[in-house]
């Protein structure tokens, strides 16, 4: 089997599989994965991804979806201090993410943002095993990396949608604290564009890169 065929097989297997693990992980039990339409509108799907892309490449997302150490701020500057990803995406001791990123945002500007995960600091970036780097990508190249379980953290479409809709680190992007720009779409609008994209077959533009 060619690598391309194998990639397609993995994609379809994940896309069609029942997302039981994802559903079980949903704390409120309200998430329902969008089903692919029997008559998908490819053009509508591509238009939706163009909107999704605007969010993915926004600093609130892409600052940690990078090849190496994280970036910071609306200008995507080098992170201060010069922390490293680490195997688990939580930094390399003695400078772990949790050293400075605590459980909540500071009300003051220029402070490291915080995230509560079970009462403990939850800040992180993708692990070394699956970096999910989007930096420098756009269009169909970004779409494919985003959609392919081999490069998106092993997520089916349903799991990808759930990650976008319910993950509290994703949601932090819309509650980033003072001095940080919001993503270009409101969260409900972003979630709707993800639904439209998936309903229409989660297409990636073949003609552009």
């Amino acid at each position: 089997m060619s690598s391309r065929a194998e990639a397609l097989r993995r994609y379809l297997a994940c896309a069609l599989a029942l997302p039981m693990a994802a559903l079980a992980a949903d704390p409120v039990g309200q998430f329902q994965p969008t089903q692919v339409s029997v008559s998908p509108d490819r053009s509508a799907g591509l238009q939706a991804f163009a909107q999704i892309e605007r969010v993915l490449l926004h600093p609130r997302c892409v600052n940690c979806h990078v090849p190496d150490g994280p970036l910071q701020g609306d200008a995507k500057r080098m992170h201060y201090p010069a922390v490293q990803r680490g195997v688990d995406g939580k930094g390399v001791a003695p400078l772990n993410c949790a050293t400075c990123h605590s459980t909540q945002n500071s009300p003051l500007a220029h402070a490291p943002p915080g995230l509560d995960t079970g009462g403990q600091p939850g800040w992180r970036m993708p692990s070394a095993k699956m970096k999910m780097s989007w930096f420098g990508l756009s269009g169909s190249a970004l779409c494919k990396v985003f959609r392919d379980p081999g490069t998106n953290g092993g997520r089916s479409l349903a799991m990808l949608q759930q990650h976008m809709a319910t993950d509290h680190l994703v949601a932090w992007g819309w509650h980033p604290g003072p001095g940080r720009e919001l993503p270009p779409l409101a969260k409900p609008e972003f979630d709707e564009q993800v639904r439209i994209w998936i309903r229409n077959g989660a297409p990636c533009d073949r003609s552009k890169s």
């Binding site: 001791a93 003695p94 400078l95 459980t103 915080g114």
Partner: protein
């Protein structure tokens, strides 16, 4: 009530859960070795260890250390690496005004616990998150290297 281990001894405090650990240490417990610097986890003056990992006490809520081991500058000398770092600090006469030095020492100990043979680059990276307005960075760097030799 929030219970934790403070410098190896059981401790319980009656504070709201969102009270920063720095306030608990300095105001509730009277341990003033840990300093208030920027208050937003950027300067490192308030560095403590929670379960051996460094944390900025100014942004760490008290509720998050329930059941955990909190170590401060007051007790770091009871640890072999901590003692070696403090001795090296004295040998190199690192301190100028001294305000940031509690945090500097806690950061240096955290580095040497994670990496007993740090390179110059390792030291620069690890210590870069602790600011010193007096500019004692060269002496800090030398003292960390010397402490690493002492514990080898």
């Amino acid at each position: 009530m929030i219970s934790f281990s403070l410098n190896g001894k059981p401790q319980t405090v009656d504070v709201p859960g969102d009270t920063p650990v720095l306030w608990v240490l300095r105001d509730t417990l009277g341990l003033t070795g840990t300093k208030f610097g920027c208050g937003i986890a950027v300067c490192g003056a308030c560095t403590v260890h929670v379960d051996g990992a460094q944390r900025r006490a100014c942004v760490t809520p008290a509720s998050s250390i329930a059941g955990r081991q909190l170590t401060t500058i007051e007790a770091i000398g009871e640890d072999r690496i901590g003692r070696a770092v403090q001795d090296s600090w004295v040998r190199h006469d690192v301190v100028q005004c001294g305000y940031c030095q509690s945090g500097q020492i806690m950061a240096a100990v955290a580095l040497l616990k994670a990496n007993k043979q740090p390179t110059d680059a390792d030291i620069n990276r690890a210590m870069s998150a602790n600011l010193c307005r007096c500019g004692t960075y060269v002496r800090i760097h030398a003292a960390v290297k010397d402490a690493a030799k002492a514990i080898a």
